[in-house]
Symmetry: C3
Subunit: 159 residues, 3 copies
C-alpha cells in the first residue's frame, strides 16, 4: 500500500505537558511521512498565541479571558503537580538537563516538518482570540475541515 | 466508496467545555452522514442527568455521589478556569453573545440528528446512577457494545 | 476479513479513574481478540510503578518527582472529586460493594491476557524513573514504536 498515512490530533488542552505529548507524537508521525494535522481548539489555542503583547480591539469579557489565559506555549501550566508554576519550572529544568526539546521548539520543528497547524475559528471567536494574536503560518478552519482530515486518518487523537 | 463513515466518542469527562467539544464534533459528523455514537462513562454520565430531582432508592455512598456530581449538562464546571463557577458563567455569557449553542442545546440537536447516546451501565452502577435519573431516549450498554462500534470507526476519540 | 483487529491506547493520565477506563477498554478489546497495546507516558507511568520502595541512584530533581508522584496504581488520585484522597476511598468502597475490579487487578488481568504494556523511555528519563522501579514483564519503547502500532490500529485512544 503506497497510500500516505495520516495523523490528526485535536489539541483541546492548554496544559504544557499535554501539548508536549501532542507535538511529540505529531513530529514523530511527520518523520514517518504521515500527513499530520493538529487542530487547536479551546485552551489548546493558547499554544499558538504570540508571546508578546498585541494590541487588538476587544470587548470586556474577551479582554478578561485574554488576560487569564497563558500567552503562548512557554507560559502554559502542567496538568498535574503544577504547584503554582513550580512544576513547569522543574519540568523545564529536567528537560534542559536531558536535552529534551521545549514546547516552543517542538512547535517550530512541527512547522519545519510541514505539520498543518490549525486554529479552530469557532473557539477563537468564543475566547475572543484574533488572528493577530496567534503565530504566523497557521491555518484557520472549523469542525468540518477537521472531520475531513480525520475521517481518513490512521491515528486520530483528542488530547 | 459508498460505505457509511462512523464516529465513536467516549465521553469520560464531566467538564462543560470538554462535553461541548464532544457534542460539536458529534453533531458535525452527523451532519456529514456519519453514524455517530457517544458512549458516556464515569463523569461523562452527568451530561445525561435530568436537571430536576428524581426520587430513587439509594445507598448512602450512592446518595453522596449523586449529591456531589452536577445535575445535568447545564450544571457542569469547566476543565480550566472554573474559578468556583465563575468560569462557566463567563463562557455562557460569551456563548450567548456569539449565538453559540449551549451544551443542553447541543445534546438536543444530537438527539434530533440520531446520534446514538449511550450510558455505560458499569459506571452507572459504580456511581449509583439509575435510569430514572437520566434523560429519555438514550441507550444502555457496556464496553463490549462500545468496542463493536469503535472497531469499525473512522474517527474514535476519548474525551 | 480474518485480519486481527488492533487497539492502541496512550495512557498519559496519572488519574485512578482514567487509568481504570483505559484498562477496562484494553481488557475488553483483548477479550475480543484484539492485539492491544497500552503505551504509558508522562503521569501514566505511575500506574506501572512498584508499590514498594526501590533504592536507585537519582539526582535531586528526579528524587523530588519520585517522591511527589504516586507509587503505583493503588496510590493514584481521581481526576474529579479527589477531595484530598477521600474520593478514591469512596470509589474503592463502591467498587468493592459492586464487586468491580480494582486498578491493580485490572493491570494483572491485562498482563494475563497478553496486553502489551509499554513504558515510554523518553518520559521515564524526564521524570527520572528507572526500570527497577517499574513492575516486571513490561516493554520499553519510544514514540516510533507507538506509531508503528497505532497506524494500523482500529481503535486508537489518548487517555
Amino acid at each position: 500500500m503506497s497510500e500516505t498515512k495520516r495523523t490528526t490530533i485535536v489539541l483541546f488542552s492548554g496544559d504544557y505537558d499535554k501539548a508536549m505529548a501532542a507535538y511529540i507524537i505529531a513530529n514523530g508521525a511527520a518523520a514517518y511521512d504521515h500527513e499530520v494535522t493538529i487542530f487547536h481548539t479551546f485552551w489548546g489555542l493558547n499554544a499558538l498565541r504570540k508571546a508578546e503583547d498585541v494590541t487588538v480591539n476587544k470587548g470586556f469579557l474577551e479582554k478578561m479571558f485574554a488576560k487569564m489565559m497563558p500567552k503562548g506555549a512557554d507560559k502554559m501550566g502542567l496538568s498535574k503537580m503544577n504547584m503554582a508554576g513550580m512544576g513547569p519550572k522543574m519540568i523545564k529544568k529536567v528537560m534542559k538537563k536531558h536535552n529534551a526539546m521545549t514546547l516552543p521548539q517542538l512547535i517550530e520543528m512541527a512547522q519545519e516538518q510541514d505539520v498543518k497547524l490549525v486554529a479552530c475559528t469557532m473557539t477563537m471567536d468564543l475566547l475572543g482570540l484574533q488572528k493577530e494574536e496567534l503565530i504566523d503560518e497557521i491555518e484557520y478552519a472549523g469542525v468540518a475541515a477537521y472531520l475531513g482530515d480525520a475521517e481518513d486518518g490512521n491515528v486520530n487523537l483528542f488530547i
